[in-house]
């Protein structure tokens, strides 16, 4: 039984909750909370930037988990989790980079600086872009799944090394790192936490839909193969013998 679309009552409710959450966060972030003492209004981007960055980490974490589980259990479910999480995670990485740059312009005066995190994230973006490229190469499902699982793991073991090397690199040179005031409290903290929750819910919503699309795509591929085989058999005049 193939569902007609990828939504369901639960996902629609989740989607509505995300929309409402975004509205609340927007009001809190733009109107209710005050500007930052040092950075002024630019700091409000933190309510978007940090939440998408958190979701991004969850996405790549899930991709790794899915890949490991696929190698272990060989279940299509985990493989689909891995690819969906990577795709949605990549979108959130893009958002993280873009919001970071938008924040960097008024704060640092430049869109791009070779800041440790910015550099790490850009490499991360490229690593997982490679994963998705490999993933979408035409191949047998089994071959494709194994190949992409290994690429995901190879990328994952690289992440700590990238992070360490880049932070050493910049740590050795940068004299003053501009960071948000370390104490963040009260309403600002609440807005930030709410932002993270809403972002994670949005991530989940996208993930569920992407998962179902990917699952259906695989179904089509599997069904297509069976169909082609039975068509060839029909052409050859072989009568299908249904096993009791």
């Amino acid at each position: 039984m193939v569902p007609a679309h990828t939504g369901s009552r639960t996902t629609r409710l989740l989607g509505l909750a995300v929309l409402a959450g975004i509205a609340v966060v927007l009001v809190l972030a733009l109107a209710v909370t005050g500007p930052d003492a040092v950075q002024g209004d630019a700091a409000r981007l933190i309510y978007l930037h940090v939440p998408v960055a958190v979701s991004m980490n969850v996405g790549f974490g899930l991709c790794t988990l899915g890949s490991v589980m696929w190698l272990w259990k060989k279940s299509r479910w985990w493989d689909t989790v891995a690819v969906s999480a990577a795709e949605v995670g990549l979108v959130f990485t893009g958002l993280t980079l873009v919001t970071g740059m938008v924040w960097g312009r008024p704060t640092w005066g430049v869109y791009w600086t070779w800041d440790a995190r910015l550099t790490t994230f850009s490499l991360l973006f490229l690593l997982y872009l490679g994963y998705l490229v490999v993933r979408h190469l035409p191949a047998d499902l089994e071959v494709r799944n194994r190949r992409s699982a290994y690429v995901a793991l190879l990328a994952f073991v690289d992440v700590p090394i990238v992070y360490l090397s880049v932070s050493w690199w910049r740590g050795l040179h940068q004299t003053a790192t501009l960071s948000l005031s370390s104490t963040i409290s009260g309403l600002m903290l609440f807005t930030l936490v709410l932002g993270i929750v809403v972002s994670l819910m949005g991530f989940l919503w996208l993930l569920v839909h992407r998962f179902r699309v990917a699952w259906l795509e695989d179904e089509v591929e599997i069904a297509g193969l069976d169909l082609a085989i039975s068509e060839r058999r029909a052409e050859a005049g072989i009568v299908e013998v249904s096993t009791p």
Binding site: V134, R146, L154, V157, S165, W168, W169
Partner: protein
Amino acid sequence: MFRDAALVARKDLRIEWRSRVTTNQVAPFAVLVLILFAFALDPDRGVLQRATAGLFWVAILFSALLAVQRAFALEAADGNRDALRLSGLNPAGIFLGKAGAVALELGALEIVLGIGVVILYSTTLSGWLLLITTCVVATIGLAAAGSLYGVLAAGLRVRETLLPLLLLPVVAPVLLGATRAFEAALGQSTSDGWSWVELLTTFAVIYVAFGVLAFGSLLEEA
């Protein structure tokens, strides 16, 4: 495992020696890259000297791509890959042999490029122990990671364009670490070169271990 590795490495190196692809194509390419850097950057203002470490390792990285591609193109024709799989050789041994051969080729290239930067960029080499240690561990890391992605991409029609996209972001820490260690050795920075060597060693250990464990499965799939 090590006997198999030696066999595979000897085979690859013998093919390289006879076909002269590394000596006649990859090495001249690497030197060409050094010359192109001089065209791109102003050679008169000492930019080349100051950037020696980075330019050297970028040239090595590009050459490593060619070397890895070449190492796996050897088996692409006539079902040689299946022959290799069916040979009964230990997959971990095949990995170590392939990576070892690539590492030795890169090592030879590093000597050529080392002479190249001394002559073309008038760089004075110093801190030999750090220079050589960096070369050894960085090369092992590059060859190991390269061989893993090499075998992964080898059977694909898009391998020429896919390999750089997959490999370069992964080996970015090697470029970073090796360049910083070289700068320290050449006295161009005050940072501690040896801590970068530790990072490069970690990288090499991780990817060699990954290769020993996973290479068989990657070799099978194509």
